[in-house]
């Protein structure tokens, strides 16, 4: 059974994530000749992604999607079911595989028509637990630059166990990314609300998403020394994830908020495993946040999207880091409420829909495309 929210032939919220339910809901949508169907599936209940792809393949529509820890629906979030969004597109989704290999290749991309639709929007869904995400984004930017605005996030399971999690009509993939090109313009708000606690610190030795040394010393020792005074209990290996979720790294970026990197585990030799790459010799800060600063940041991100002339036919897409739900706990609904209150001024159609992700993607609408952690990205699509 499909319930649309809001009542629209372009969006469907499906309570069940069975292939049959998703196909039935998709069939009721307005799948015109330019339709691109985005299929966002929540991870609870171990959905059969292969079955979903097979079921949707019967429909005469291009589609792409991914599996996520949760979905955003208005001012609440859910961890089961699926969200179907139909948007106009003139370019088939792009599939990039083999991201675990540093020599991965991006297929040829046709130049996008910017004359008819202005700057288009690229929805980038990537396996959040793969390597080389930053390089992927740099390569995409090198090919397309700012002819598109980028929004998206890391797919996968909150268990942090990697599995095939992004898909197109050709199949379901691990270590891959799918990019849907939507012929609509967009505005962005990108904020996280984490503040500098200590720094600058130089990541004097790192490889990919593993930080081995900070300031020429063992990474864990430096990190532990810095955050220990702010912890109620001694930092231990077992309690590492819970204790450190409030103390991420920030990669310095002049004039903007730091790009957050979440240390999620400690290695046997004191190296720190992060979500996302930390370039060697990058200048880092250790950040700290509280519930208030994070929710205020979400409100600011929403406000950033409202700057400028009133958009025509707006819709709102939110990519919020799943770690913010863990940090904010019950207050996470407050964050969504704040966002909903601000974007409500865009009209009834601007109900926030989106994903809880393992890493967030945005170009700030302007400079290089970045892979963030612990951040909220709000996109207002219009035109």
């Amino acid at each position: 059974m499909a319930h649309s929210m809001p009542a629209s032939k372009h969006v469907a919220r499906v309570r069940s994530s069975t292939p049959e339910a998703i196909r039935a809901a998709a069939a009721e949508l307005d799948l015109g000749p330019r339709a691109l169907l985005t299929v966002l599936v929540a991870e609870k209940g171990a959905p059969d992604l292969e079955g979903i792809v097979a079921a949707l393949r019967d429909l005469d529509v291009e589609f792409f999607g991914g599996l996520f820890p949760g979905l955003i629906e208005g001012q609440s979030h859910v961890d089961e079911g699926a969200l179907l969004i139909v948007q106009p597109s003139d370019t088939p989704p792009l599939l990039i595989t083999g991201l675990h290999d540093a020599d991965f290749e991006i297929p040829a991309i046709e130049p996008l028509d910017t004359t008819a639709f202005g700057t288009q929007t690229a929805f980038v869904l990537v396996d959040g637990l793969t390597a080389n995400v930053s390089r992927l984004l740099a390569e995409l930017h090198g090919r397309l630059g700012n002819t598109v605005h980028y929004v998206g996030g890391g797919a996968g399971s909150l268990s942090l166990v990697q599995r095939p999690c992004v898909f197109t009509r050709n199949g379901v993939y691990q270590d891959a990314a799918v990019v849907g090109f939507v012929a609509r313009q967009s505005r962005f708000g990108v904020r996280h609300g984490w503040k500098q606690l200590a720094g600058p610190i130089v990541a004097t030795r790192s490889h990919g998403n593993v930080v081995q040394e900070l300031n020429w010393r063992n990474a864990y020792e430096v990190y532990a020394e810095t955050i220990q005074p702010y912890l109620d209990e001694a930092l231990t290996e077992d309690g590492f994830f819970d204790a450190t979720k409030g103390f991420p790294f920030g990669i310095f970026k002049e004039g903007l908020e730091d790009v957050v990197r979440d240390p999620i585990a400690k290695g046997a030799n004191g190296e720190l495993l992060c979500v996302g790459e930390v370039p060697e010799n990058a200048v880092l800060n250790i950040l700290r946040g509280d519930r208030t600063s994070l929710i205020e940041a979400a409100a600011l991100a929403a406000k950033d999207c409202l700057v400028g002339d009133p958009p025509t036919d707006p819709s709102v897409f939110v990519v919020d880091c799943v770690s913010r739900t863990l940090f904010l706990e019950d207050d996470f609904e407050r964050e969504l409420a704040v966002v909903g209150e601000h974007v409500a001024e865009l009209g009834a159609s601007a109900v926030p829909l989106g994903i809880l992700s393992l890493g967030e993607i945005s170009s700030h609408g302007q400079g290089l495309v970045e892979f963030f952690n612990k951040t909220i990205v709000i996109a207002v699509l219009h035109g």
Partner: protein, 571 residues
């Protein structure tokens, strides 16, 4: 800003500069070097675009006096399709005036610096890169120009980057020079090949023209009837034609394509025979010495060609003695040769180490300088005032076709030593090839079908055949021959069939004739080599004759077939 904040900011700036400086010079490849550095700059400084321009004259592969500047790196590349600007571009003038500057959208000079697409806002920071070019950085969302302090913060690391760009360009120039040098070498080799080919063609033309002059002159004299019998002119024609045939034989030897009538041969015996033959032709000043090994391992060789090799080397050695009295020594022996020993030899097909039989021809004459040694085996190359020919080129061809090797060692003023190696074989003497036939009976009767696309060849062979009392039929190509054969095969005793002809070649015609009469007696002819005819094993012709054909060989072959005809008819 309080003191603590100021210290933190300086620390952060220093840390960023540390990161950026470590990203400089990571590669000698220009694009990679730029990419490593500028991606970092863009990430840390929140930039949307960066590009590097260098003087066109310094771009690898460009002309030394190429004007203007070329963009050698852009990120993202799509934004900057404009690849070059002239020296008169206002951006160049500004870069020449100021080592670094910034302009923002709305400034009067903003349009002067825009070389990219889709720029309708933001600000540029532009740095001169030493004397090489300049760097453009662009922040799309920035409403104001970069301040002097912001520009200064990057100045030193950009200077460092400029040095690395120079290094990359130098590296590329060195590589380009190396590539050019190799290309020149290839061109020179090609030119030498063409020169050699020209020498070969010129030499052949020269020698053949001389011989043709003799033939044509003699024919005219014979027609004019100055000699009652015309015998002297005919002798001249025969001699000239014979020399032409020799020249062709040498050419084939040079090409390594001459027919090898191989047999098991004792090299020392061949040398002895040659020494007897050359006794009258070598210079009287030469004291000949022989050091010939007995019981040499056998070699598989064409005796006639071996004679040619020995004769050529001995003649050359005696001529090297010039006006002085000197010594020519000829030695044979066997030797086990390693791969290292084979270095410095001109090699045949087999380059394997192993047991070889050698021939040494040593003189203490004038010697050969290095430049001459380089060209010693070029066809028609000679240092003598008189005499042109294939000499050593033919020797090399023969040695190669025998899977042998040859080396020339020489010191000007002291003498020369030529060593030829032939692979030793351990084989029993093969059965000698049975002769095709003997001209025992000239009073035979029969009809010969002569097939050749050359009218003169048909005419000559026809007259020869008729002079022997035989009947001749002619055809100009395979198709015509098959038609004639189909109509008159019962009366045709022997077919003389050329291999290479238009319309239908000899091979196809031969097969067609066998379909008409499976016992057709066909002699194949060719102006190329025996090998061409001998590759035809199924069906195999009755005989093969290589042009030019001597009448004795022709009638030996025809005679044998006519005899066989008689035998088979008798049955």
């Amino acid at each position: 800003m309080d003191e603590q904040s100021r210290v933190t900011e300086i620390l952060r700036d220093l840390s960023v500069l540390y990161e950026l400086s470590l990203a400089v010079g990571r590669s000698l490849e220009l694009h990679e070097n730029c990419d490593e550095f500028l991606r970092k700059v863009m990430a840390r400084k929140s930039l949307a675009f960066a590009s590097v321009w260098v003087r066109a004259s310094q771009v690898p592969g460009a002309e030394d006096d190429a004007p203007g500047y070329r963009q050698v790196y852009a990120n993202p590349a799509f934004r900057a399709p404009l690849a070059s600007i002239g020296d008169d571009h206002p951006l160049v003038a500004r870069v020449m005036r100021e080592p670094s500057f910034s302009v923002a959208f709305g400034d009067a000079a903003f349009e002067d610096v825009v070389t990219e697409q889709g720029v309708d806002g933001g600000a540029f920071a532009i740095y001169r890169l030493g004397t090489t070019g300049f760097l453009k950085l662009y922040a799309i969302a920035r409403p104001t120009a970069f301040s002097a302090i912001e520009l200064s913060k990057l100045r030193h690391v950009v200077d460092q980057f400029a040095v690395s760009v120079d290094g990359c360009l130098d590296h590329a120039r060195v590589r380009a020079a190396e590539t050019r040098r190799r290309a020149l070498e290839r061109q020179m080799l090609q030119a030498q090949k063409l020169e050699g080919l020209g020498l070969l063609a010129g030499g052949i033309a020269h020698d053949f023209n001389n011989l043709l002059s003799v033939i044509l002159g003699s024919v005219e004299l014979a027609r004019a009837g100055t000699d009652a019998n015309g015998d002297a002119e005919l002798d001249n024609v025969e001699e000239a034609a014979s020399r032409a045939a020799d020249l062709c034989s040498q050419l084939l030897a040079y090409a390594g394509g001459a027919h090898l009538a191989t047999a098991i041969v004792d090299l020392s015996e061949v040398v002895l025979e040659t020494m007897r033959l050359t006794a009258v032709t070598v210079s009287k000043k030469a004291r000949m010495q022989q050091r010939l090994a007995q019981h040499l391992p056998a070699i598989e060789a064409d005796r006639t060609q071996l004679l040619q090799v020995v004769m050529n080397l001995v003649t050359n050695a005696s001529e090297a003695l010039d006006e002085a009295t000197g010594e020519v020594a000829v030695a044979t022996g066997s030797i086990r040769v390693t791969a290292r020993d084979l270095e410095g030899y001109h090699l045949g097909e087999a380059r394997r180490p192993g047991e070889y039989v050698y021939l040494d021809v040593i003189d203490n004459g004038c010697g050969i300088d290095a430049a001459t040694r380089e060209r010693l085996f070029d066809p028609f190359f000679t240092t003598k005032f008189t005499g042109r020919g294939l000499g050593l080129a033919a020797v090399l061809g023969i040695v190669r076709s025998h899977r042998g090797a040859i080396r020339v060692a020489s010191t000007p003023g002291q003498g020369t030593r030529v060593r030829v190696l032939f692979p030793a074989v351990n084989a029993e003497q093969p059965e000698p090839r049975a002769p095709l036939g003997t001209r025992a009976d000239t009073a035979r009767r029969g009809t010969i079908l002569i097939v050749d696309d050359e009218d003169s060849v048909r005419r000559t062979l026809g007259r020869l055949v008729e002079a022997e009392g035989l009947d001749a039929l002619v055809a100009a190509h395979g198709g015509e021959a098959v038609d004639v054969f189909r109509q008159r095969w019962r009366e045709i005793d022997v077919v003389l069939l050329d291999l290479t002809m238009p319309v239908m070649g000899g091979e196809e015609a031969f097969a067609a004739m066998l379909e008409i009469d499976p016992r057709a007696r066909v002699i194949l002819m060719s102006g190329y080599t025996h090998l061409e005819g001998e590759r035809l094993t199924n069906p195999r012709p009755a005989a093969f004759l290589a042009k030019p054909i001597r009448s004795r060989d022709l009638f030996d072959a025809i005679g044998q077939l006519l005899d066989e005809r008689g035998t088979s008819r008798a049955r």
